[in-house]
Amino acid sequence: MKKKRTVFYLLILALVLLLYLVFARLIDAKVINRYYSGIITMVCINIILAVSLNLATGFLGQLVLGHAGFMSVGAYAAALFTIHSGLPKMVSFPLALVLGGLVAAVFGVLIGVPALRLKGDYLAIITLGFGEIIRVVITNMDFTGGARGLRGIKHLTDFTWVYFVAVLTVAAVFAFIRSRHGRAVISIREDEIAAEASGINTTYYKLLAFIISAFFAGVAGALYAHHIGVLIPNKFDFNYSTEILVMVVLGGMGSVTGSIIAAVVLTILPEFLRNFSDYRMVVYSVILICVMLFKPSGLLGQHEFSLAGLWDAVRGKGKRNRADGPAVGGQKGA
Protein backbone atom coordinates (compact mmCIF):
# COMPACT_ATOMS: atom_id res chain seq x y z
CA MET A 1 0.00 0.00 0.00
CA LYS A 2 2.62 2.47 1.04
CA LYS A 3 4.71 1.62 -1.95
CA LYS A 4 1.81 2.09 -4.33
CA ARG A 5 1.15 5.45 -2.83
CA THR A 6 4.74 6.62 -3.10
CA VAL A 7 4.91 5.50 -6.72
CA PHE A 8 1.72 7.38 -7.48
CA TYR A 9 3.03 10.58 -5.90
CA LEU A 10 6.32 10.29 -7.76
CA LEU A 11 4.48 9.83 -11.03
CA ILE A 12 2.43 12.93 -10.43
CA LEU A 13 5.54 14.89 -9.51
CA ALA A 14 7.29 13.71 -12.65
CA LEU A 15 4.32 14.68 -14.78
CA VAL A 16 4.15 18.11 -13.23
CA LEU A 17 7.83 18.72 -13.77
CA LEU A 18 7.70 17.41 -17.29
CA LEU A 19 4.84 19.70 -18.18
CA TYR A 20 6.72 22.61 -16.72
CA LEU A 21 9.90 21.86 -18.58
CA VAL A 22 8.09 21.46 -21.87
CA PHE A 23 6.26 24.74 -21.59
CA ALA A 24 9.22 26.62 -20.14
CA ARG A 25 11.47 25.54 -22.98
CA LEU A 26 8.86 26.46 -25.56
CA ILE A 27 8.41 29.88 -24.04
CA ASP A 28 12.15 30.50 -23.76
CA ALA A 29 12.70 29.47 -27.34
CA LYS A 30 9.97 31.90 -28.31
CA VAL A 31 8.05 29.11 -29.97
CA ILE A 32 5.22 30.19 -27.70
CA ASN A 33 5.03 33.94 -28.08
CA ARG A 34 4.00 36.64 -25.60
CA TYR A 35 0.34 36.40 -26.52
CA TYR A 36 0.08 32.68 -25.91
CA SER A 37 2.22 32.71 -22.79
CA GLY A 38 -0.11 35.39 -21.50
CA ILE A 39 -3.02 33.02 -22.04
CA ILE A 40 -1.16 30.25 -20.23
CA THR A 41 -0.56 32.61 -17.32
CA MET A 42 -4.24 33.45 -17.16
CA VAL A 43 -5.08 29.74 -17.33
CA CYS A 44 -2.94 29.14 -14.25
CA ILE A 45 -4.44 32.09 -12.42
CA ASN A 46 -7.95 30.95 -13.24
CA ILE A 47 -7.10 27.44 -12.07
CA ILE A 48 -6.14 28.89 -8.70
CA LEU A 49 -9.37 30.91 -8.62
CA ALA A 50 -11.61 28.04 -9.66
CA VAL A 51 -10.04 25.51 -7.31
CA SER A 52 -10.25 27.93 -4.38
CA LEU A 53 -13.87 28.79 -5.11
CA ASN A 54 -14.65 25.10 -5.39
CA LEU A 55 -13.50 24.68 -1.82
CA ALA A 56 -16.18 27.04 -0.55
CA THR A 57 -18.90 26.33 -3.07
CA GLY A 58 -18.29 22.73 -4.09
CA PHE A 59 -16.88 21.09 -0.99
CA LEU A 60 -18.45 23.24 1.71
CA GLY A 61 -21.56 23.73 -0.38
CA GLN A 62 -22.04 27.46 0.18
CA LEU A 63 -22.69 29.61 -2.84
CA VAL A 64 -20.14 32.42 -2.85
CA LEU A 65 -20.83 35.16 -5.34
CA GLY A 66 -18.10 37.64 -4.46
CA HIS A 67 -14.95 35.63 -5.09
CA ALA A 68 -13.54 38.36 -7.33
CA GLY A 69 -13.68 40.65 -4.31
CA PHE A 70 -11.15 38.51 -2.47
CA MET A 71 -9.01 38.43 -5.58
CA SER A 72 -9.04 42.20 -5.87
CA VAL A 73 -8.11 42.73 -2.24
CA GLY A 74 -5.12 40.44 -2.65
CA ALA A 75 -4.17 42.08 -5.92
CA TYR A 76 -4.14 45.58 -4.50
CA ALA A 77 -2.37 44.59 -1.32
CA ALA A 78 0.38 42.80 -3.21
CA ALA A 79 0.77 45.54 -5.79
CA LEU A 80 0.96 48.32 -3.21
CA PHE A 81 3.54 46.28 -1.32
CA THR A 82 5.90 45.76 -4.24
CA ILE A 83 5.51 49.36 -5.33
CA HIS A 84 6.27 50.86 -1.94
CA SER A 85 8.41 48.33 -0.12
CA GLY A 86 11.76 49.17 -1.61
CA LEU A 87 12.89 45.56 -1.30
CA PRO A 88 14.63 43.75 -4.16
CA LYS A 89 12.13 41.96 -6.35
CA MET A 90 13.35 38.47 -5.49
CA VAL A 91 12.32 39.17 -1.92
CA SER A 92 9.36 41.45 -2.36
CA PHE A 93 7.49 39.34 -4.89
CA PRO A 94 7.07 36.13 -2.86
CA LEU A 95 6.31 38.28 0.17
CA ALA A 96 3.73 40.13 -1.88
CA LEU A 97 2.09 36.87 -2.90
CA VAL A 98 1.81 35.75 0.71
CA LEU A 99 0.65 39.19 1.78
CA GLY A 100 -2.04 39.19 -0.90
CA GLY A 101 -3.28 35.87 0.35
CA LEU A 102 -3.23 36.93 3.98
CA VAL A 103 -5.05 40.20 3.38
CA ALA A 104 -7.70 38.33 1.43
CA ALA A 105 -7.91 35.80 4.25
CA VAL A 106 -8.52 38.61 6.73
CA PHE A 107 -11.39 39.81 4.58
CA GLY A 108 -12.54 36.23 4.49
CA VAL A 109 -12.85 36.35 8.26
CA LEU A 110 -14.55 39.75 8.25
CA ILE A 111 -17.12 38.62 5.73
CA GLY A 112 -17.33 35.02 6.81
CA VAL A 113 -18.15 35.56 10.45
CA PRO A 114 -21.44 37.34 9.78
CA ALA A 115 -22.22 35.67 6.46
CA LEU A 116 -21.79 32.04 7.48
CA ARG A 117 -24.47 32.37 10.12
CA LEU A 118 -27.04 32.76 7.39
CA LYS A 119 -28.81 30.25 5.25
CA GLY A 120 -27.55 29.53 1.75
CA ASP A 121 -29.66 32.04 -0.16
CA TYR A 122 -28.86 34.92 2.12
CA LEU A 123 -25.21 33.98 2.31
CA ALA A 124 -24.98 34.15 -1.46
CA ILE A 125 -26.46 37.62 -1.54
CA ILE A 126 -24.30 38.87 1.30
CA THR A 127 -21.17 37.65 -0.45
CA LEU A 128 -22.39 39.37 -3.59
CA GLY A 129 -22.97 42.51 -1.57
CA PHE A 130 -19.53 42.46 -0.03
CA GLY A 131 -17.93 41.91 -3.38
CA GLU A 132 -19.68 45.01 -4.65
CA ILE A 133 -18.89 47.02 -1.54
CA ILE A 134 -15.20 46.18 -1.87
CA ARG A 135 -15.25 47.29 -5.46
CA VAL A 136 -16.99 50.57 -4.68
CA VAL A 137 -14.69 51.32 -1.76
CA ILE A 138 -11.54 50.68 -3.81
CA THR A 139 -12.90 52.85 -6.59
CA ASN A 140 -13.39 55.70 -4.15
CA MET A 141 -10.03 55.58 -2.40
CA ASP A 142 -7.06 57.65 -3.51
CA PHE A 143 -4.13 55.48 -2.59
CA THR A 144 -5.47 52.65 -4.72
CA GLY A 145 -5.60 54.93 -7.68
CA GLY A 146 -9.35 55.18 -7.60
CA ALA A 147 -11.39 54.51 -10.70
CA ARG A 148 -8.49 55.17 -13.02
CA GLY A 149 -6.65 52.29 -11.47
CA LEU A 150 -3.31 51.43 -9.97
CA ARG A 151 -0.50 51.66 -12.43
CA GLY A 152 3.18 50.99 -12.60
CA ILE A 153 3.12 47.48 -11.15
CA LYS A 154 6.25 45.61 -12.13
CA HIS A 155 5.74 42.56 -14.30
CA LEU A 156 7.15 40.10 -11.84
CA THR A 157 4.82 37.22 -12.67
CA ASP A 158 6.41 34.80 -15.08
CA PHE A 159 5.49 31.30 -16.17
CA THR A 160 7.60 29.62 -13.49
CA TRP A 161 5.93 31.49 -10.66
CA VAL A 162 2.41 31.15 -11.87
CA TYR A 163 2.77 27.49 -12.77
CA PHE A 164 4.24 26.38 -9.48
CA VAL A 165 1.89 28.48 -7.38
CA ALA A 166 -0.98 26.86 -9.27
CA VAL A 167 0.51 23.43 -8.64
CA LEU A 168 0.92 24.28 -4.96
CA THR A 169 -2.66 25.48 -4.71
CA VAL A 170 -4.01 22.34 -6.31
CA ALA A 171 -1.83 20.17 -4.09
CA ALA A 172 -2.90 22.09 -0.99
CA VAL A 173 -6.59 21.79 -1.79
CA PHE A 174 -6.24 18.10 -2.59
CA ALA A 175 -4.36 17.53 0.64
CA PHE A 176 -6.96 19.47 2.58
CA ILE A 177 -9.88 17.57 1.13
CA ARG A 178 -8.32 14.23 1.88
CA SER A 179 -7.57 15.13 5.47
CA ARG A 180 -9.79 15.07 8.51
CA HIS A 181 -10.46 18.79 8.13
CA GLY A 182 -11.60 18.32 4.58
CA ARG A 183 -13.88 15.49 5.57
CA ALA A 184 -15.42 17.68 8.25
CA VAL A 185 -16.06 20.40 5.67
CA ILE A 186 -17.69 17.94 3.30
CA SER A 187 -19.89 16.55 6.06
CA ILE A 188 -21.28 20.04 6.58
CA ARG A 189 -22.30 20.15 2.94
CA GLU A 190 -23.94 16.76 3.20
CA ASP A 191 -25.95 17.39 6.34
CA GLU A 192 -25.09 20.17 8.72
CA ILE A 193 -27.26 18.93 11.55
CA ALA A 194 -25.83 15.43 11.36
CA ALA A 195 -22.33 16.90 11.23
CA GLU A 196 -22.96 18.82 14.44
CA ALA A 197 -24.34 15.69 16.03
CA SER A 198 -21.18 13.87 15.01
CA GLY A 199 -19.03 16.28 16.98
CA ILE A 200 -18.04 18.64 14.17
CA ASN A 201 -17.77 22.30 15.13
CA THR A 202 -19.53 23.50 12.02
CA THR A 203 -18.93 27.19 12.62
CA TYR A 204 -15.20 26.61 12.83
CA TYR A 205 -14.97 24.46 9.73
CA LYS A 206 -17.21 26.68 7.64
CA LEU A 207 -14.98 29.61 8.48
CA LEU A 208 -11.85 27.57 7.82
CA ALA A 209 -12.96 26.58 4.33
CA PHE A 210 -14.05 30.14 3.63
CA ILE A 211 -10.72 31.60 4.76
CA ILE A 212 -8.59 29.15 2.79
CA SER A 213 -10.73 29.84 -0.26
CA ALA A 214 -10.24 33.58 0.18
CA PHE A 215 -6.51 33.15 0.79
CA PHE A 216 -5.87 31.48 -2.53
CA ALA A 217 -8.08 33.97 -4.32
CA GLY A 218 -5.87 36.69 -2.88
CA VAL A 219 -2.75 34.92 -4.08
CA ALA A 220 -4.28 34.65 -7.54
CA GLY A 221 -4.98 38.36 -7.39
CA ALA A 222 -1.38 39.09 -6.47
CA LEU A 223 -0.15 37.05 -9.41
CA TYR A 224 -2.64 38.78 -11.67
CA ALA A 225 -1.55 42.24 -10.56
CA HIS A 226 2.07 41.55 -11.44
CA HIS A 227 1.11 40.00 -14.72
CA ILE A 228 -1.06 42.76 -16.09
CA GLY A 229 0.80 45.64 -14.48
CA VAL A 230 -2.35 47.68 -13.99
CA LEU A 231 -5.28 47.19 -11.63
CA ILE A 232 -8.68 48.57 -12.48
CA PRO A 233 -11.31 48.03 -9.77
CA ASN A 234 -14.13 47.43 -12.22
CA LYS A 235 -12.34 44.37 -13.55
CA PHE A 236 -13.18 42.56 -10.30
CA ASP A 237 -16.92 42.80 -10.65
CA PHE A 238 -19.83 40.41 -10.44
CA ASN A 239 -19.19 39.30 -14.02
CA TYR A 240 -15.73 38.05 -13.11
CA SER A 241 -17.08 36.28 -10.03
CA THR A 242 -19.65 34.67 -12.27
CA GLU A 243 -17.03 33.51 -14.78
CA ILE A 244 -15.19 31.70 -12.02
CA LEU A 245 -18.46 30.26 -10.74
CA VAL A 246 -19.22 28.92 -14.20
CA MET A 247 -15.85 27.14 -14.20
CA VAL A 248 -16.63 25.53 -10.86
CA VAL A 249 -20.18 24.58 -11.81
CA LEU A 250 -19.22 23.24 -15.21
CA GLY A 251 -16.23 21.28 -13.98
CA GLY A 252 -18.10 19.80 -11.10
CA MET A 253 -18.76 21.17 -7.65
CA GLY A 254 -16.59 18.90 -5.62
CA SER A 255 -14.04 17.95 -8.23
CA VAL A 256 -10.66 19.63 -8.18
CA THR A 257 -9.62 18.18 -11.52
CA GLY A 258 -12.98 19.23 -12.90
CA SER A 259 -12.24 22.82 -11.94
CA ILE A 260 -8.85 22.59 -13.58
CA ILE A 261 -10.26 21.29 -16.83
CA ALA A 262 -13.06 23.83 -16.86
CA ALA A 263 -10.65 26.65 -16.07
CA VAL A 264 -8.42 25.63 -18.96
CA VAL A 265 -11.31 25.34 -21.39
CA LEU A 266 -13.08 28.52 -20.31
CA THR A 267 -9.89 30.58 -20.41
CA ILE A 268 -8.70 29.36 -23.79
CA LEU A 269 -12.01 29.19 -25.60
CA PRO A 270 -13.00 32.86 -25.18
CA GLU A 271 -9.60 33.83 -26.53
CA PHE A 272 -10.19 31.96 -29.74
CA LEU A 273 -13.74 33.18 -29.97
CA ARG A 274 -12.85 36.83 -29.49
CA ASN A 275 -15.15 37.83 -32.29
CA PHE A 276 -18.02 36.59 -30.25
CA SER A 277 -16.99 38.28 -27.02
CA ASP A 278 -20.27 40.16 -26.96
CA TYR A 279 -22.08 36.92 -26.55
CA ARG A 280 -19.80 35.63 -23.83
CA MET A 281 -21.96 36.40 -20.81
CA VAL A 282 -25.06 35.18 -22.59
CA VAL A 283 -23.32 31.90 -23.34
CA TYR A 284 -22.03 31.60 -19.77
CA SER A 285 -25.50 32.13 -18.34
CA VAL A 286 -26.93 29.51 -20.67
CA ILE A 287 -24.16 27.12 -19.61
CA LEU A 288 -25.09 27.66 -15.96
CA ILE A 289 -28.75 26.98 -16.61
CA CYS A 290 -28.12 23.96 -18.81
CA VAL A 291 -25.68 22.36 -16.40
CA MET A 292 -28.17 22.79 -13.58
CA LEU A 293 -30.98 21.35 -15.64
CA PHE A 294 -29.20 18.42 -17.17
CA LYS A 295 -26.21 17.56 -15.05
CA PRO A 296 -26.24 19.54 -11.82
CA SER A 297 -23.15 17.84 -10.59
CA GLY A 298 -21.16 19.26 -13.46
CA LEU A 299 -18.94 17.40 -15.88
CA LEU A 300 -17.01 15.41 -13.32
CA GLY A 301 -19.46 15.59 -10.45
CA GLN A 302 -17.64 14.85 -7.26
CA HIS A 303 -15.18 12.51 -8.88
CA GLU A 304 -11.67 13.38 -9.71
CA PHE A 305 -10.34 12.74 -13.14
CA SER A 306 -8.78 9.34 -13.35
CA LEU A 307 -7.63 7.39 -16.36
CA ALA A 308 -9.40 4.35 -14.99
CA GLY A 309 -12.60 6.33 -14.70
CA LEU A 310 -12.23 7.65 -18.22
CA TRP A 311 -11.75 4.12 -19.50
CA ASP A 312 -14.85 2.96 -17.64
CA ALA A 313 -16.87 5.85 -18.96
CA VAL A 314 -15.80 5.10 -22.51
CA ARG A 315 -16.78 1.48 -22.08
CA GLY A 316 -20.08 2.57 -20.57
CA LYS A 317 -19.50 0.86 -17.27
CA GLY A 318 -20.45 2.05 -13.81
CA LYS A 319 -18.16 3.45 -11.20
CA ARG A 320 -15.58 1.35 -9.44
CA ASN A 321 -15.60 0.58 -5.76
CA ARG A 322 -12.54 1.80 -4.01
CA ALA A 323 -12.59 0.30 -0.57
CA ASP A 324 -9.42 1.56 0.99
CA GLY A 325 -7.28 4.60 1.25
CA PRO A 326 -8.39 8.09 2.18
CA ALA A 327 -10.99 8.11 -0.53
CA VAL A 328 -13.62 10.75 -0.82
CA GLY A 329 -15.76 10.42 -3.84
CA GLY A 330 -19.21 9.83 -5.10
CA GLN A 331 -21.72 10.98 -7.64
CA LYS A 332 -24.08 13.61 -6.44
CA GLY A 333 -27.28 13.12 -8.36
CA ALA A 334 -29.99 15.68 -8.03
Binding site: R180, E190, A194, A197, S198, G199
Partner: protein, 253 residues
Protein backbone atom coordinates in the same frame (compact mmCIF):
# COMPACT_ATOMS: atom_id res chain seq x y z
CA UNK B 1 -24.45 9.15 40.43
CA UNK B 2 -26.49 8.43 37.33
CA UNK B 3 -24.69 8.86 34.03
CA UNK B 4 -27.38 11.00 32.47
CA UNK B 5 -30.15 12.70 34.34
CA UNK B 6 -33.05 14.85 33.30
CA UNK B 7 -34.52 16.99 36.06
CA UNK B 8 -37.90 18.63 35.58
CA UNK B 9 -37.07 18.95 31.92
CA UNK B 10 -39.53 20.86 29.84
CA UNK B 11 -39.85 22.96 26.73
CA UNK B 12 -42.54 25.22 25.39
CA UNK B 13 -42.72 26.39 21.79
CA UNK B 14 -44.60 29.65 21.99
CA UNK B 15 -47.80 28.65 23.68
CA UNK B 16 -47.39 24.93 23.11
CA UNK B 17 -45.92 22.94 25.99
CA UNK B 18 -44.23 20.11 24.16
CA UNK B 19 -42.64 18.59 27.26
CA UNK B 20 -43.34 19.12 30.91
CA UNK B 21 -41.66 17.93 34.08
CA UNK B 22 -39.72 15.08 32.50
CA UNK B 23 -37.52 13.29 35.01
CA UNK B 24 -35.40 10.21 34.46
CA UNK B 25 -32.06 8.73 35.36
CA UNK B 26 -29.95 6.70 32.97
CA UNK B 27 -27.35 4.58 34.73
CA UNK B 28 -24.10 3.35 33.30
CA UNK B 29 -24.41 0.37 30.97
CA UNK B 30 -28.17 0.52 31.21
CA UNK B 31 -30.43 0.05 28.22
CA UNK B 32 -33.50 2.19 28.68
CA UNK B 33 -36.49 2.56 26.41
CA UNK B 34 -38.48 5.72 25.78
CA UNK B 35 -41.87 4.81 24.41
CA UNK B 36 -45.18 6.49 23.84
CA UNK B 37 -47.68 7.30 21.12
CA UNK B 38 -46.69 9.37 18.12
CA UNK B 39 -46.37 13.03 18.90
CA UNK B 40 -45.75 12.40 22.59
CA UNK B 41 -42.48 14.29 22.46
CA UNK B 42 -39.92 11.50 22.38
CA UNK B 43 -37.68 12.97 19.70
CA UNK B 44 -38.05 16.33 21.42
CA UNK B 45 -36.48 14.74 24.49
CA UNK B 46 -33.55 13.64 22.33
CA UNK B 47 -33.27 17.11 20.89
CA UNK B 48 -33.12 18.56 24.37
CA UNK B 49 -30.52 16.05 25.49
CA UNK B 50 -28.28 16.88 22.54
CA UNK B 51 -28.62 20.64 22.62
CA UNK B 52 -30.62 21.00 19.44
CA UNK B 53 -33.25 22.72 21.56
CA UNK B 54 -32.67 24.59 24.78
CA UNK B 55 -35.08 23.65 27.56
CA UNK B 56 -37.35 26.36 28.87
CA UNK B 57 -37.35 24.64 32.24
CA UNK B 58 -35.30 22.05 34.07
CA UNK B 59 -31.82 20.73 33.39
CA UNK B 60 -29.96 17.88 31.81
CA UNK B 61 -26.91 16.59 33.64
CA UNK B 62 -24.21 14.39 32.22
CA UNK B 63 -22.09 12.82 34.95
CA UNK B 64 -23.45 15.35 37.37
CA UNK B 65 -22.64 18.42 35.28
CA UNK B 66 -25.28 20.45 33.50
CA UNK B 67 -25.04 20.53 29.74
CA UNK B 68 -27.87 22.99 29.19
CA UNK B 69 -26.91 25.73 26.77
CA UNK B 70 -23.97 23.87 25.30
CA UNK B 71 -23.72 23.53 21.58
CA UNK B 72 -24.58 20.20 20.01
CA UNK B 73 -21.08 19.36 18.87
CA UNK B 74 -19.72 20.06 22.34
CA UNK B 75 -22.30 17.78 23.91
CA UNK B 76 -21.34 15.07 21.45
CA UNK B 77 -17.71 15.48 22.40
CA UNK B 78 -18.68 15.31 26.06
CA UNK B 79 -20.18 11.92 25.44
CA UNK B 80 -23.73 11.89 24.07
CA UNK B 81 -24.19 10.64 20.52
CA UNK B 82 -27.43 10.04 18.64
CA UNK B 83 -29.14 8.72 15.56
CA UNK B 84 -32.08 10.38 13.82
CA UNK B 85 -35.63 9.29 13.21
CA UNK B 86 -35.34 10.01 9.49
CA UNK B 87 -31.76 8.81 9.00
CA UNK B 88 -29.35 11.63 8.41
CA UNK B 89 -26.39 10.01 6.76
CA UNK B 90 -23.79 11.79 4.69
CA UNK B 91 -25.33 10.36 1.59
CA UNK B 92 -22.90 11.13 -1.17
CA UNK B 93 -19.73 9.95 0.49
CA UNK B 94 -18.49 6.49 1.32
CA UNK B 95 -19.61 4.32 4.21
CA UNK B 96 -16.10 4.42 5.59
CA UNK B 97 -15.96 8.19 5.47
CA UNK B 98 -19.29 8.49 7.27
CA UNK B 99 -17.68 6.73 10.21
CA UNK B 100 -14.32 8.47 9.94
CA UNK B 101 -15.96 11.89 10.05
CA UNK B 102 -17.45 11.08 13.42
CA UNK B 103 -13.99 10.27 14.69
CA UNK B 104 -12.74 13.74 13.86
CA UNK B 105 -12.92 15.12 17.38
CA UNK B 106 -10.65 12.37 18.62
CA UNK B 107 -8.01 13.18 16.08
CA UNK B 108 -5.27 15.62 16.77
CA UNK B 109 -3.12 16.32 13.76
CA UNK B 110 -3.12 19.95 12.77
CA UNK B 111 -4.09 21.62 9.53
CA UNK B 112 -0.44 22.09 8.68
CA UNK B 113 0.32 18.43 9.35
CA UNK B 114 -2.49 17.53 7.01
CA UNK B 115 -1.33 19.84 4.27
CA UNK B 116 2.29 18.77 4.49
CA UNK B 117 1.43 15.12 5.05
CA UNK B 118 3.62 14.89 8.12
CA UNK B 119 4.00 11.50 9.87
CA UNK B 120 1.24 12.33 12.35
CA UNK B 121 -1.19 12.52 9.44
CA UNK B 122 -0.35 9.07 8.14
CA UNK B 123 -0.31 7.53 11.56
CA UNK B 124 -3.61 8.95 12.76
CA UNK B 125 -5.35 8.30 9.46
CA UNK B 126 -4.29 4.69 9.56
CA UNK B 127 -5.44 4.32 13.18
CA UNK B 128 -8.76 5.91 12.41
CA UNK B 129 -9.30 3.79 9.33
CA UNK B 130 -8.52 0.63 11.28
CA UNK B 131 -10.88 1.62 14.07
CA UNK B 132 -13.58 2.55 11.61
CA UNK B 133 -13.28 -0.78 9.83
CA UNK B 134 -13.54 -2.60 13.14
CA UNK B 135 -16.69 -0.71 13.94
CA UNK B 136 -18.16 -1.42 10.54
CA UNK B 137 -17.34 -5.08 11.06
CA UNK B 138 -19.47 -5.15 14.20
CA UNK B 139 -22.43 -4.18 12.05
CA UNK B 140 -21.50 -6.40 9.13
CA UNK B 141 -20.76 -3.41 6.93
CA UNK B 142 -17.06 -3.97 6.43
CA UNK B 143 -17.39 -5.18 2.86
CA UNK B 144 -19.45 -2.16 1.95
CA UNK B 145 -16.95 0.34 3.26
CA UNK B 146 -16.27 1.82 -0.17
CA UNK B 147 -19.85 2.07 -1.26
CA UNK B 148 -21.71 5.30 -1.17
CA UNK B 149 -24.01 5.63 1.79
CA UNK B 150 -26.80 6.57 -0.60
CA UNK B 151 -26.65 3.16 -2.25
CA UNK B 152 -27.06 1.10 0.88
CA UNK B 153 -30.32 -0.72 1.50
CA UNK B 154 -32.47 0.84 4.19
CA UNK B 155 -31.61 -1.58 6.97
CA UNK B 156 -27.89 -1.13 6.38
CA UNK B 157 -28.30 2.63 6.39
CA UNK B 158 -29.83 2.44 9.84
CA UNK B 159 -26.96 0.32 11.02
CA UNK B 160 -24.44 2.68 9.50
CA UNK B 161 -25.98 5.56 11.38
CA UNK B 162 -25.56 3.67 14.62
CA UNK B 163 -21.97 2.83 13.71
CA UNK B 164 -21.33 6.50 13.03
CA UNK B 165 -22.78 7.49 16.38
CA UNK B 166 -20.59 4.92 18.09
CA UNK B 167 -17.59 6.35 16.29
CA UNK B 168 -17.98 9.46 18.45
CA UNK B 169 -16.84 7.32 21.41
CA UNK B 170 -19.87 8.25 23.45
CA UNK B 171 -20.76 7.34 26.99
CA UNK B 172 -24.44 7.59 26.14
CA UNK B 173 -26.02 6.50 22.89
CA UNK B 174 -29.43 7.83 21.90
CA UNK B 175 -31.13 5.72 19.24
CA UNK B 176 -34.22 7.16 17.56
CA UNK B 177 -36.32 4.30 16.19
CA UNK B 178 -33.37 2.13 15.19
CA UNK B 179 -35.58 -0.77 14.16
CA UNK B 180 -38.00 1.22 12.04
CA UNK B 181 -38.71 -0.47 8.76
CA UNK B 182 -36.88 -3.67 9.67
CA UNK B 183 -38.26 -7.18 9.24
CA UNK B 184 -38.34 -9.63 12.19
CA UNK B 185 -34.99 -11.19 11.33
CA UNK B 186 -33.24 -7.86 11.05
CA UNK B 187 -34.90 -6.71 14.25
CA UNK B 188 -33.65 -9.77 16.12
CA UNK B 189 -30.18 -9.20 14.73
CA UNK B 190 -30.30 -5.57 15.79
CA UNK B 191 -31.33 -6.52 19.32
CA UNK B 192 -28.27 -8.70 19.60
CA UNK B 193 -26.01 -6.09 18.10
CA UNK B 194 -27.20 -3.48 20.55
CA UNK B 195 -26.59 -5.76 23.51
CA UNK B 196 -23.19 -6.53 22.07
CA UNK B 197 -22.15 -2.94 21.69
CA UNK B 198 -23.40 -2.12 25.14
CA UNK B 199 -21.19 -4.82 26.57
CA UNK B 200 -18.24 -4.21 24.33
CA UNK B 201 -18.09 -0.45 24.54
CA UNK B 202 -19.55 -0.04 28.04
CA UNK B 203 -22.10 2.54 27.08
CA UNK B 204 -25.57 3.39 28.28
CA UNK B 205 -28.29 3.36 25.67
CA UNK B 206 -31.55 5.27 25.57
CA UNK B 207 -33.74 4.28 22.70
CA UNK B 208 -37.04 5.31 21.18
CA UNK B 209 -39.00 2.52 19.52
CA UNK B 210 -42.49 1.51 18.53
CA UNK B 211 -41.74 -2.18 18.00
CA UNK B 212 -42.83 -3.62 21.36
CA UNK B 213 -41.06 -6.95 20.95
CA UNK B 214 -37.86 -5.09 20.42
CA UNK B 215 -38.42 -2.78 23.34
CA UNK B 216 -39.53 -5.45 25.78
CA UNK B 217 -36.74 -7.67 24.54
CA UNK B 218 -33.78 -5.52 25.38
CA UNK B 219 -34.78 -2.63 27.59
CA UNK B 220 -34.09 -3.06 31.24
CA UNK B 221 -36.10 0.00 32.16
CA UNK B 222 -38.85 1.84 30.36
CA UNK B 223 -40.25 5.36 30.45
CA UNK B 224 -43.60 6.06 28.87
CA UNK B 225 -44.35 9.49 27.50
CA UNK B 226 -47.75 10.83 26.52
CA UNK B 227 -48.62 14.41 25.58
CA UNK B 228 -45.25 15.60 26.82
CA UNK B 229 -45.47 14.06 30.28
CA UNK B 230 -44.18 10.84 31.76
CA UNK B 231 -47.14 8.67 32.63
CA UNK B 232 -45.35 5.56 33.78
CA UNK B 233 -41.97 3.99 34.24
CA UNK B 234 -40.64 0.66 35.29
CA UNK B 235 -39.50 -2.68 34.01
CA UNK B 236 -40.92 -4.28 30.90
CA UNK B 237 -43.34 -6.43 32.89
CA UNK B 238 -44.56 -3.54 34.99
CA UNK B 239 -45.21 -1.43 31.93
CA UNK B 240 -46.86 -4.21 29.98
CA UNK B 241 -49.67 -4.50 32.46
CA UNK B 242 -49.97 -0.82 33.33
CA UNK B 243 -53.53 0.32 32.51
CA UNK B 244 -52.48 3.92 31.93
CA UNK B 245 -49.99 2.87 29.30
CA UNK B 246 -52.46 0.55 27.64
CA UNK B 247 -55.00 3.29 27.46
CA UNK B 248 -52.44 5.67 26.09
CA UNK B 249 -51.39 3.63 23.17
CA UNK B 250 -50.66 -0.02 23.26
CA UNK B 251 -53.03 -0.93 20.49
CA UNK B 252 -52.09 -4.53 20.11
CA UNK B 253 -48.60 -5.91 20.10
Amino acid sequence: MPLLEAKHLGIAFGGLRALEDVNFKLEENQIMGLIGPNGAGKTTVFNLLTGVYTPTEGTVELEGKSIVGRKTYAITRNGIARTFQNIRLFKDISVLDNVRIAMNSGMKYSLVSGLLRLPSYWREEREVTDRAMELLDVFGLKDLSGSQARNLPYGQQRKLEIARALACSPKVLLLDEPAAGMNPTETQELMETIKLIRDRFSIAILLIEHDMNFVMGICEHLIVLDYGRIIAEGSADEIRGNPKVITAYLGGE
